[in-house]
């Protein structure tokens, strides 16, 4: 780590409007988020030479680039599901540190909620209609929620995790969402509300599941040198790593209680020269309550099997063991399908002291961890407000 080394920072970040955008197209959400992130940084499209995004069509990034009027000489559209944006920002950091790019714009946009109203069916197919090995799940009526339920049931069996402990994650996220005027659901809920609610796939209740939203976000990755001239305090990308264990079939997962975070977490912390004990605030992908329990274990915030005890009694609250998802998370604030960008934007806000009512005092180190697919991919970013 020589003083002359180019160091990657995030110099601007913003979310689009959310959670319901019937008047916007998917690409318009990208544009709105990009406009805001560039304005936050004090940059214009003319400053951008790199572009990254992830979506569900081949050549997705070049399509959005054309829409935005960009002719980038660096582009990336790695799609690892919900963890895509942690991966894209990690890649962008390598790009600016190597000199392959100077200013990389990373955007996300989705109108998943509005589109549902124009689609037949009840959603949540979890592989139905998908090509390849996913059929080995969906033929037997498995669903997206069902996959996470299979993992939750196994965790309960092995470690005694309770539905009430899972519910505690949803309750804490809702508490944070109550401070977020944009959040999709803001009214307080109790553990009782969660566990007496409708079961979607045992042991997961409706309130154990993320919301379905429209929305997006964007951030800008550049070098510390470039950011020194800009208007916002830089957020340093201290370390990043990602991993995958399987594609879409949980039957191919060696242990349903261990996610790829068990690989990406230690690697990211090692690259950052930090440990979980150094983290002041966490943004953890919360597709389902069980996802968070597995993630706090796999990232090393507690031992395997202790995640239930870790999250209960406000463990993820502002004065808890690990203040987590300070915007209300995917469980209450916004989940447009691949929420990873929201984790990064909220981590940046916390490190810049812009968290408002849910600001974690003196937050110096943040972790953003995305989970994609059926617990298939994990990507960890360690961010800091001070030069390492």
């Amino acid at each position: 780590m020589t003083p002359s080394r180019r160091r990657a920072v995030i110099c601007g970040a913003a979310t689009s409007d959310y959670p319901y955008l019937p008047e916007l197209s998917e690409h318009a959400v990208h544009a709105q988020a990009a406009d805001r992130a560039l304005a936050d940084a004090g940059l214009t499209y003319a400053d951008v030479d790199g572009f990254a995004t992830a979506g569900f069509f081949p050549m997705y990034s070049v399509g959005v680039a054309e829409y935005l009027g960009l002719h980038p000489t660096y582009f990336d559209e790695t799609n690892s599901g919900g963890s895509s944006f942690e991966v894209l920002v990690e890649h962008a950091a390598y790009a600016v540190e190597s000199g392959a790019a100077e200013v990389v714009l990373v955007t996300y946009g989705s109108v998943q909620l509005s589109q549902m109203g124009r689609r037949l069916g009840t959603g949540g197919g979890g592989g139905a209609g998908m090509p390849g090995p996913a059929i080995y799940d969906s033929l037997w009526g498995n669903t997206l929620v069902g996959n996470y339920a299979l993992a939750a049931r196994r965790h309960m069996h092995e470690y005694g995790t309770t539905p009430e402990q899972l519910a505690a994650v949803a309750v804490t996220m809702r508490g944070h969402a109550g401070h977020n005027p944009q959040a999709q659901y803001r009214d307080p809920i109790t553990v009782e509300d969660v566990v007496t609610g409708r079961l979607v796939a045992d042991p997961l209740h409706k309130l154990d599941c993320c919301v379905i939203s429209d929305g997006g976000g964007a951030c800008i990755v550049t070098t510390a040198e470039r950011a020194a001239d800009l208007q916002r305090p830089p957020v340093w990308i201290l370390g990043g790593a990602h991993a995958t264990t399987h594609h879409m079939n949980l039957s191919a997962m060696a242990d349903l209680t261990v996610t790829p975070a068990a690989q990406s977490g230690p690697l990211a912390f090692s690259r950052a020269g930090l440990t979980p004990a150094d983290v002041d605030v966490a943004q953890l992908y919360d597709s389902f309550t069980i996802t968070v329990v597995l993630t706090v274990e796999d990232l090393g915030f507690c031992a395997k099997g202790e995640g239930g005890a870790f999250v209960q009694d406000g463990g993820l609250g502002l004065s808890g063991r690990l203040p987590t998802n300070t915007d209300g998370g995917g469980l209450s604030a916004c989940h447009p399908g691949m929420r990873g960008m929201f984790l990064i934007v909220e981590a940046v806000r916390q490190l810049r002291g812009e968290g408002g009512p849910t600001q974690v005092p003196d937050a110096r180190i943040a972790v953003a961890h995305g989970t994609g697919g059926m617990l298939s991919t994990g990507a960890t970013l360690i961010l800091g407000r001070e030069e390492p």
């Binding site: 196994r154 079961l199 979607v200």
Partner: protein
């Protein structure tokens, strides 16, 4: 209509997704159509895998064979699906999706169903045995029911 109305040997409606087999997977489906539960086994190192695929994930050999299994196993984990993701399933819920560890499969697991039991009675570790649902002349699906024969360990 309920699951019982589908008739003997039927648990799911015809409107379920159907598989598209390819050169690597057709052997598994052909065996299933004959009511033989098989697992793909590497011809070189003996490692098993599921779903079927072209390459052994342990030794990367392209050679594999279909190892016939006794059709018994245990529930590794399960969920009771209570919300229908296809309209046709509205009359079938609640149903059990399980990950089963078939005996003789070298620890390889498969996603399947546990049928012929009150979903609330399913437990992890429960001994189960295969039961076949004929979907069509070329397609049968293995599901599992509580083990009724030779319930040794």
């Amino acid at each position: 209509m309920s699951a019982a109305d589908l008739g003997a040997g039927r648990w799911f409606p015809d409107e379920m997704p159907s598989p598209a087999a390819n050169a690597e997977t057709v052997g598994w489906w052909e065996a299933a159509a004959q009511h033989r539960l098989v697992v793909q086994r590497c011809s070189q190192c003996g490692a098993t895998r599921h779903p079927p695929g072209p390459v052994c994930p342990v030794c990367r050999s392209l050679a594999s064979e279909w190892a016939e299994l006794p059709g018994t196993g245990r529930v590794y984990t399960y969920t009771i699906v209570r919300q229908a993701f296809l309209p046709a399933l509205a009359d079938v819920i609640p149903y059990v999706v399980a990950v089963v560890e078939p005996d003789g499969a070298g620890g390889t697991r498969m996603v399947t169903n546990v049928v012929d039991i009150d979903p609330e009675e399913v437990e992890i570790g429960m001994p189960v045995e295969v039961v076949w649902e004929d979907i069509g002349p070329e397609l049968a699906l293995p599901r599992f029911r509580p083990r009724t024969t030779g319930a040794g360990t």
